[in-house]
Structures are given as C-alpha cells and as structure tokens.
C-alpha cells in the first residue's frame, strides 16, 4: 500500500491495463488518497464494476462513506487477498492465517469492527464482509442472553407481561 495522489500515470495506462498492474487511487471522506494495485481494488465489487465500466480510473474513486482509518484497514485486507496467489495449499493456509489474525485484531475493538463491516458492505468486498459478520455472529453465539446484553449494550426492558408471553411461546414450542 502506498499513500500519495495521482500516481496512476495516464500514459502507461493502456499497457498496464493488459498486465493488470495499473494503480488506482481511493480517497477517504477526509480527503486522504490511497494508491493501490488494481488487483487489490478489484476485491471490491463496487470498484470492480466502476473500473470495468470504463472511465474514472485516472481521477480515482472518492469514498464519501469511509474514513481514513477504516479505509487503511480495508486496504490491508484487499492487498493481501488481491496481490497474493492462493493456488497451493501453503498459499491458502497463509491467507487463512492472515484472516484469522486480521479478525482477531478487529474483534478487540467492536466500534472499529462495525466500521469495517459497514465499509465492506458499502464496497461489496464479499470475503471481508463474510469475515466480519461471522465474527459478530460468533460473539452472539457463544453467550448467554445476559452476556449478549452486556457485550452489545442492550438494555433489559422486558415487562412482566413480555416475560409471561415468552414463557408461553416456549411451552407451546
């Protein structure tokens, strides 16, 4: 990942399109530019379709919904998955290890995990979105209702009547 602006030189563009080594500029909502390889950017279905539809590659892509901190982390994922091969067993194992470490780090900072999830959703980065949503689902899975409330800041506001209803539904089940 390189930070800068306008690094994708227009002259070399046609040639590089063939080899897939074009560089693409992504701009966060704070105006910070991130220059990434096309292979990395293509992890995002949103950007992929814009690139394939032609145009706008030189101008770069402004991402008004993504802040710099989140974009940097998203690009870290895209670089790993876009720029590296996953043909051999070893290569796939290395990617799986990357994913595991990547999500473990995010899991420690829930607010940031939500930001990355939202960015992955907005940019349609399937692998990353699956990774983060599964991580949140796993957090719900392993917990009692009380622990879930604590983990996600859910306030217990059920009335006695609600509790009665739930009990009734359970016995009917």
């Amino acid at each position: 990942m390189a930070t800068g602006s306008g690094a994708a030189a227009a002259a070399a563009d046609a040639e590089e399109k063939e080899s897939g080594s074009r560089m693409i500029t992504l701009t966060s909502n704070e105006g910070k530019a991130f220059v990434v390889t096309e292979a990395s950017a293509r992890q995002s279905a949103t950007i992929r379709s814009m690139v394939d539809d032609g145009g706008c590659v030189d101008k770069g892509f402004p991402l008004p919904n993504v802040d710099s901190k989140t974009l940097a982390r998203v690009i870290q994922y895209c670089d790993e998955h876009g720029n590296k091969e996953a043909h051999t067993v070893d290569e796939r194992a290395a990617l799986a290890k990357f994913d595991k470490d990547f999500i473990a780090e995010l899991d420690a900072d829930k607010a940031f995990l939500y930001d990355v999830t939202m960015a992955a959703n907005y940019l349609h980065i399937q692998g990353l979105f699956a990774l983060t949503t599964q991580c949140i689902a796993d957090t719900i899975k392993g917990k009692t209702p009380e622990e879930i409330r604590t983990a996600f800041g859910i306030e217990y506001d059920l009335t006695a009547q609600d509790e009665e209803e739930i009990k009734e539904e359970d016995t009917h089940a």
């Binding site: 409330r149 217990y156 506001d157 609600d162 509790e163 089940a173």
Partner: protein, 408 residues
C-alpha cells in the same frame, strides 16, 4: 412506549443497517436466533424478519425447532438441512407445510440410521414433502420415500436430487423418481446412492423399469448392488461427471454405459460381476472423445477373464483417445488387465497421469513382475512424459468425497 423503543434501538447491533444485521443474524444457529427474543423489547420480534435463513441441524443439536417457530420465520427460507434423530422424526409432518409456505429452496433430511432394519422397518417421509414446490435442491438420506399424492406436478425448479440409502415403494417408486426427473427441466445433479426398492428380496419380485431422462444432467452418481430397474435410455448430452458403483449380475453395465458415453470424468467401481467390466467399457466407449479421468476399481474380487475375450472385444483405435488421467485399482498380474493397461498406454497420447493400485498388500513376486512389465509398457507408450505411479492395495488412490447432507 415509543420513546422506550427508540432508546432500545440505540444498542450497537440495532444501530447497524437492517440488511447488515439480517446477514449477521442469519449466521446464528436457529435455536439461538429464536432465543434473541428475550434480549429486550426491541429484540422481541426482531428475528422474525430475518429473511434467507439457512437452517441447519447437525447430529449434535439437542432440540429440534418447533413448526411454530418455522411459521414465524420471514419468507423465504433458503435452506433447511436436518439430521433427524428418532425422537424428532414426528416433527416432519408439521415442518413441511411451514417450510412449503416459506418457499424453502434447499431441503435435506437425513434420518437416524439406528432405526433402520427395525419394525416398522424404515421411516416413511411425510407426503407433505411434495408441497415444497419451490425446491431447487432435495437430499433425502436413510429413509423411505413416500408416493406423492395424486396430481403432484413435480418440483419444476429442481437442480439437484440426491437419494442416499432411500427405499422406494415397490409399486410406483421408480416411476415416481422418473417423474421427478422428467418434471425438472433444469436438473443438473442426480445421485442415486444405495437406493433400494421395497420387497426386492421376494423370491420372484416383479421388477418395474424406469428411466432417467435429464437433458441438462452434468453429474450422475449411481451406487447400487441390485438392479432397481433404472435405465438411461437417452444420453445426457451435457454429462461431465459420473460415479458408478454397481455390483451383481442383475444390472447390465453395458446398458448403463451406453447411457453415459458423453462423460468427461468417470469414477467406476464394480464387484461380483459375471462379465468382465473392462471388456464392456472398451466396447461402449468407442464414442468417447473427451474423457479426462477414468478410474476402475474392483473392491472385492477382480474378475479374471480369458485372454481371448479381451482381444475379441473389438477395441476401436480411438477409444479413450483424449484421456488425461487414469487411475486403476484392484489390479493383479493377469494377462488381460496388463493387456488393457498396455492398450491405454499405447493409444492415449494425451495422457498426463497413470496410476495403478495393485490388489497386493506387500511386494510379492506377482507385483514385482507386474511392475516390470508395466515399466516396459511405459517406455514404449505414446506419452512417456505422463506421471506414472504404482501403488499397493494398502495405499490406494483416494476415493471421491462423500456428498453430505450438511455441506460446509
């Protein structure tokens, strides 16, 4: 109350966009998803609006979902895959109408094998199954298939049908599978794995014949010890992969192979046969041009034939001409098997790999002799660059993976 609801919406999960939260919630096992109703007032009915649920119940699940909970789910339910314990089998008649009304697309029911062989003998799946009209994938395992009610129109969207360890009714059972296949114009995968027909053990059982006519079939698996009356009268033109494991002289493999000569990848196992399999294949596959993988395996007892049989089988020069990968197992030092291997090596220029697993467990004289002969064949072969592998029986080439009711 409105204010309370608004305050409750502030929790971290509820503040995510609805579609994102739906996707997260759809990843939670169904019983835990239903339990989210007791988190707070805002969560009371939240789970009921999660669409595209793929409900999975493994053997490890203690409870089974109530039909009432299924009725409360948002439509459509994408998948319902259940390993059904004996104590939960009574749920099926209640599940099917709920699943049908939610437009379930993928349905897999695997029953507890423990009950098999007891009386009442097998488990007959409830007829309500046939009301799931939107099915694209149907997988039934270790149960009895019922007859459809009159007027059943088939599953028109069906793409994949797997019957594994399923017993069909003696009268009309085969015809029903024929009907299911015929009424599914998109059917691409058909697996009849250890399918049985009721009362086949009768001293003089009537054998009802039925046919598989699936013009878009790509994958065919047929595993059967007895002739269950199934035939393939017309060649599926798109067939890519076939897995054939047949035994007993009831069924003529000539007929089976006539039905699948377009196949590109073939896995073939045969046992207890009166005819010698390789002879039949070499005749029938004269038309084969695109085969990529042929694997013969004789698990039980390889059948010995006289040398003359093979010569007289009339092998066409072009048989197997585009084979790339060959794996043979259950091979012995018999002149006919060696002759067949020599034939493959000398005629198949496209060959990239040639693996032979001998029936011998450790190096014995026959094995050493066979290896020597094969290596000589190889030097004279049409494609000496091919990967060449000789194995012993205790280290065989891997079998194709089992197609599970609960895929990963």
């Amino acid at each position: 109350m409105a204010a309370a609801a608004a305050a409750a919406r502030e929790d971290e999960l509820m503040s995510l966009p609805t579609d994102v939260l739906d996707i997260i919630l759809a990843r939670i096992p169904f019983d835990l998803l239903v339990r989210t109703c007791c988190l707070s007032r805002a969560w009371r009915r939240r789970w009921e609006s999660v669409r595209y649920l793929d409900i999975r119940l493994g053997w490890g699940c203690r409870g089974a979902p109530s039909a009432r909970d299924l009725w409360r789910c948002a439509a459509p339910i994408v998948g319902f895959r259940a390993c059904v314990h004996a104590r939960h089998f009574h749920h099926l008649p209640a599940w099917f109408p709920a699943l049908a009304s939610k437009g379930v697309r993928e349905l897999a029911i695997e029953c507890d094998e423990v009950r098999r062989g007891h009386t009442p003998s097998y488990w007959v799946i409830d007829q309500g199954l046939f009301s799931c009209a939107a099915l694209a994938v149907l997988h039934l395992e270790d149960c009895d298939m019922p007859l459809a009610p009159p007027g059943f129109r088939g599953f028109p969207s069906l793409v994949s049908l797997t019957l594994r360890g399923v017993t069909l009714p003696a009268e009309g059972g085969g015809a029903q599978v024929e009907h299911l296949v015929a009424e599914a114009p998109l059917l691409a995968e058909l697996r009849l794995d250890d399918v049985d027909v009721e009362e086949l053990e009768d001293p003089t059982p009537p054998l009802y014949m039925w046919a598989v006519r699936a013009p878009r079939l790509r994958v065919l698996k047929m595993v059967t010890r007895l002739d269950i009356g199934c035939r393939i009268p017309e060649v599926p033109p798109l067939l890519e992969e076939a897995y054939i494991d047949i035994g007993n002289s009831f069924m003529s493999f000539h007929e089976i192979f006539r039905g699948i000569i377009t196949v590109k990848k073939l896995w073939f196992n045969i046992h207890e046969f009166n005819e010698y399999p390789l002879e039949g294949i070499s005749c029938k596959f004269d038309n084969l041009r695109e085969a990529e993988d042929i694997s013969f395996s004789s698990r039980d007892d390889p059948y010995e034939i006289e040398e003359d049989d093979f010569i007289s089988s009339g092998i066409n020069e072009n048989s197997f001409s585009s084979l790339k990968y060959v794996s043979l197992s259950g091979i012995t030092y018999s002149s006919n098997q060696l002759r067949f291997m020599k034939f493959l090596l000398s005629k198949t220029e496209s060959l990239q790999s040639f693996a032979v697993t001998f029936l011998y467990i450790k190096s014995n004289r026959e094995y050493v002799k066979a290896c020597r002969v094969l290596r000589a064949f190889r030097r004279a072969s049409a494609s000496p660059q091919a990967r060449f592998e000789l194995r012993l029986w205790d280290k065989p080439t891997p079998r194709p993976p089992f197609f599970s009711c609960l895929p990963p």
